[in-house]
Symmetry: C2
Subunit: 315 residues, 2 copies
């Protein structure tokens, strides 16, 4: 029963992060656990402990926002026309696009940096508290309520407000490209502005899922932004915030990881692309032990046969 | 029964990361689950999926290693004597030390960068696979076996090998300061060298728990290193890799997070201090929902009373 419960939870986790659903949020606790402790006194899931409450996560995001602002400001001050970061639509199959910073009339486009919102600029602390507290799977109607009404509860990612202020002071336009739904545009703008990360104006510097026909895939929105702007930095917590090609096959776990560490992409991390760690939910939230740990990484101690799982399997 | 099981797992998680125990590793699966699936086919814990198998984690560590190497190389080329990063022992209560880059005889000390090992330079993929596969709690003898024999299985953190090579090419000494035990010095050096991150020589550029009387606290080892070197960068996955003061009260969850984001410390992230994200284990692995989510962050949807946990509580 416990086993089937864990399988159910895993299945819910997988279904909640499919790319056709809004970005968050897989619950990390079992749905039908009879609570003998009040919900608030139960152990929080480790991912939430790390992301929403650890000093480690705060240090990591402060350092990455600093890196991003330092990088973009330095590029904006170069005495030459920079190369835009890739902003698909891909020009070749599997490519990530090669936009230009020079407009058709030969003038220079204005500089911009493009940001995902959830767990990049805003922490969805309130919604994730509810997900863990209630033990419910992802419910689109609840997420919509949070997206509409979370302003003033959602906290900024540490470092984001300072980083965005530095960019704007340097004359770099801040653009948000999120998979929150366009129906929740007003609440999303309000939440961004409530933490001091605004302004955010729908279809001006705020783009959402539903603004085009590509669903949660962001390459089309990126291409639209790149028509008007010279985009020198992208930031997000999901590989889809950089290029759709990474999420073309979310089940190819090892291939997906190998792809980002390959030469052409590897050289972009910290150099135009900036990843904010989010171990709570995402397209990476897949895989059995055998899929996560390829054969050459598996290790057992010399007395492995005394482990309870192995004893059970040999019975 | 399920509830008491979860409590047991939570208790094991807490005990495994106490500072008096070697750094890893709290298991994220229940110990006495009767396996109906072969262990390898069970869902991997989310933290392991993110850290060991996601492209997101690879991008994050590549970017941080790049940031670190860029920073340290730039500082080493400044035409002035730099300020060392803080390298306790603290000179005042709660402080983090103010070492000097100038030796007693007025000469400049050689540049160094100091690194934690586990989940900073090396991924403990083999041991964590075993922890999840077996479902056993942290067993010090098993960890010692892994620390002695993991060379060739442990993978490098993405970006680490390139980053360390860049530092050494720039004339910056690479020093490892780990809470692996000094009895496992040979195996630890072998694992570092097997991924191409060496050399690592005990008591020369490799310092371990047991090298002094301070246990897992690293301030003493940091002070020893700072006597000989001008340390311009520190990197690790745990706040204790930067200053012991952060882990003085691991139970003060919100205070610990607030402390790193305060002015004097906040300005060091990405600017001498570099944090590698590790959501699998660490001193942050504590806290109930109420401790992780302070009152002002808690949110519920309008129909919250229909949630199973809340219905149970009102019965």
């Amino acid at each position: 029963m416990m086993r089937s419960l864990l399988v159910t939870v895993a299945a819910l986790a997988l279904s909640a992060c499919a790319t056709t659903v809004a970005e968050p949020v897989a619950p990390q606790v079992a749905a039908d656990v009879p609570p003998s402790l009040p919900a608030g006194e139960r152990a929080a899931p480790d991912g939430m402990r790390w992301l929403y409450a650890s000093g480690e996560a705060a240090g990591a995001s402060i350092q990455t926002w600093r890196q991003l602002a330092d990088y973009a400001i330095a590029v904006s001050r170069q005495r030459k026309v920079p190369q835009s970061v890739p902003m698909g639509l891909p020009d070749v199959q599997g490519g990530i696009g090669t936009p230009s910073c020079v407009a058709a009339d030969g003038t220079m486009k204005p500089f911009a940096a493009v940001f995902d919102v959830d767990e990049t600029v805003l922490l969805n602390n309130g919604y994730e508290y509810w997900a863990a507290y209630s033990g419910k799977p992802f419910v689109p109607e609840e997420w919509a309520q949070w997206a509409d009404g979370g302003a003033g509860i959602a906290a900024p990612v540490p470092g984001a407000v300072t980083g965005l202020r530095r960019l704007r002071e340097a004359g770099i336009t801040v653009i948000f490209n999120t998979n929150r739904n366009s129906e929740n545009a007003a609440g999303t703008a309000a939440a961004i502005e409530a933490v001091g990360a605004g302004p955010a104006v729908h279809l001006d510097n705020l783009f959402l899922r539903g603004d085009d026909a590509m669903g949660s895939r962001k390459d089309g929105r990126r291409a639209t932004i790149a028509e008007r702007f010279c985009v020198i930095a992208l930031a997000g917590d999901n590989l889809g915030d950089f290029a759709d090609v990474f999420n073309a096959d979310e089940d190819a776990i090892q291939a997906r990881r190998a792809m980002v560490a390959r030469g052409e992409y590897a050289q972009l991390w910290g150099n135009g692309w900036f990843l904010m760690p989010n171990p709570v939910y995402g397209a990476w939230q897949k895989g059995s032990l055998d899929e996560v740990f390829p054969p050459e990484t598996r290790w057992m101690p010399s007395d492995a046969s005394t482990a309870p799982n192995i004893m059970n399997e040999s019975e």
